[in-house]
Symmetry: C2
Subunit: 309 residues, 2 copies
């Protein structure tokens, strides 16, 4: 996903170009950190080379032709091909069935939460803008207020609302960069988990295809044996051996991916819990800090209000 | 203004009927309190009768025919009549000129502040709705989360966001009923002050009109004297006396309203400063209370986040 060049940044950034770039930068940083935390990927030579490379990165000229619609067409094509070779797999291990149901329901609920948090961020930003309007009009009212201490209090209100505006923006950023972006990352990761489960289904199908082919080849060999067709028997025996090896490799691959997925899922679950815990604590700390700051702002305003005479 | 029956409450209430009624009730309560605080109006027999009346108030059947457009037509008509008899008054007292400029600029800035605060209230209410969405989706995510302590933390997040939602609504109400409605009342009061100033201008015009008439009547009397028209002289002398009395009454009325306005303005300014001071302090106390409450909510959430394992 990190390779897809965004064709329309405003659609995705929800703001100006700078905001989009900052959002993208933070997202790529998290991607690199995740990769570096994985025991296999961290020793991957390509990853190391990318991190240690001193030369400037080449421009992504090949991807520039990929429009949003083009990417979707590509995805749909891949999807169709996959669908054609997909048939109902007889699951032998209930662990996978349970896990997939869990992953899919988590994804559905995470997506809803993500949308709701995103909307909250948009409205908090808008609230900050409106608070700025209140601050500006309080300042203007203060300027044309004859009564000295009331004018001072209005000017103090203007200052306070300006600080509150900045805090609303910070709160929006906390909601966005801490909560919203983690949810977005996990939506991507859960989708990658589903992809891994799908790969296992494909390997199961390859293995079963090999079994069917082996059965056919054995039938052919038996037929030649009964017909005493020694001229064809050698070829048939070789093919049986070939498909026996394929079946064996197919089963090996399937067992290997099943084991690997269980192992990786264990790691993924640990990371997920750890990430959510860290997110919650950081989110809380930020909000507590903002609230404390707000209390201070309003408290500072109190003397100005009380000295109106 | 309190007599105008609203033809379309949704247009003015911005919400459902109950909200409109509550807003109107609070507005009328403030109107009665203001009236009761005025040294002259508090002893007014109509006001006392209204307050002490035991019988049910009659239905406002006469006003039901006043549509919004009808009211506007009425206002425009009155406006035209006033404009016709208005001409530039030579102000003899700079106090009135300065005061009117001040009142008008205050009104302009108050109106801007009022609009901005009103918009802020709308967005804070919307933010509360969106927070409710976050709460609900966090609760649903919690329900399908297998990991026990993470599920508990998500459920705690849902509870916290629900409380935050209620607090956002309370903050919106603070902004609205304390800040926004005071501004609205003062927009009405400043407009009443301008009306009083306008009444003074009208009395000035009546007085000058009487002076002009007296000059004419004296001219007529002199003409009759020179022409020895004793038959008309008595009538002319009576009219001169009449207009002399009218001039005197005109000047008296003008002096009285000028003095009264200065006295009332002094009272109005004192009330204004007192009201704004009381508003600021109540507003601050409310906001401080809300912020302290929010800090408590987030602090209560902290143990749930820390016990994720």
């Amino acid at each position: 996903m990190t390779k897809i060049k965004m064709s329309n940044q405003h659609e995705n950034g929800g703001g100006n170009g700078n905001e989009f770039v900052e959002r993208r930068r933070a997202s790529l940083e998290r991607y690199l950190n995740r990769t570096a935390q994985h025991p296999v990927l961290v020793v991957d030579p390509d990853f190391r080379e990318f991190l240690e490379s001193d030369v400037e990165l080449p421009k992504a000229t090949n991807t520039s032709a990929l429009s949003g619609a083009g990417v979707m067409r590509l995805f749909n094509k891949v999807g169709e091909t996959v669908n054609k070779i997909t048939y109902k797999m007889d699951e032998t291990d209930p662990w996978f069935e349970d896990k997939l149901i869990h992953i899919e329901s988590l994804e559905t609920q995470l997506r809803k939460l993500h949308t709701n948090v995103e909307n909250m961020v948009i409205y908090r930003r808008e609230l900050a803008n409106l608070t700025n309007g209140v601050s500006r009009s309080a300042a203007m009212l203060s300027a044309c207020e004859d009564h000295n201490s009331l004018s001072k209090a209005l000017s103090h209100l203007a200052d306070t609302e300006e600080k509150v505006e900045a805090l609303h923006l910070e709160q929006a950023n906390t909601d966005f960069f801490i909560l919203c972006e983690l949810l977005k990352d996990y939506l991507g990761l859960l989708s990658a988990v589903r992809d891994a489960f799908h790969e296992r289904t494909k390997l199961f199908q390859h293995w079963h295809h090999a079994q069917q082919m082996l059965a056919k080849k054995r039938e052919t060999k038996t037929k030649y044996e009964l017909a005493c067709r020694t001229d064809k028997l050698d070829q048939a025996a070789t093919e049986v051996l070939e498909w026996e090896a394929k079946v064996e490799r197919g089963q090996e691959n399937f067992d290997k991916i099943s084991k690997m997925i269980k192992m990786e899922m264990e790691r993924f679950e640990k990371c997920r819990i750890k990430d959510f815990k860290a997110m919650f604590i950081k989110y809380l700390e930020n909000h507590l800090e903002h609230q404390a700051q707000l209390v201070k702002y309003w408290e500072n305003f109190l003397p100005a209000a009380e000295s109106i005479a």
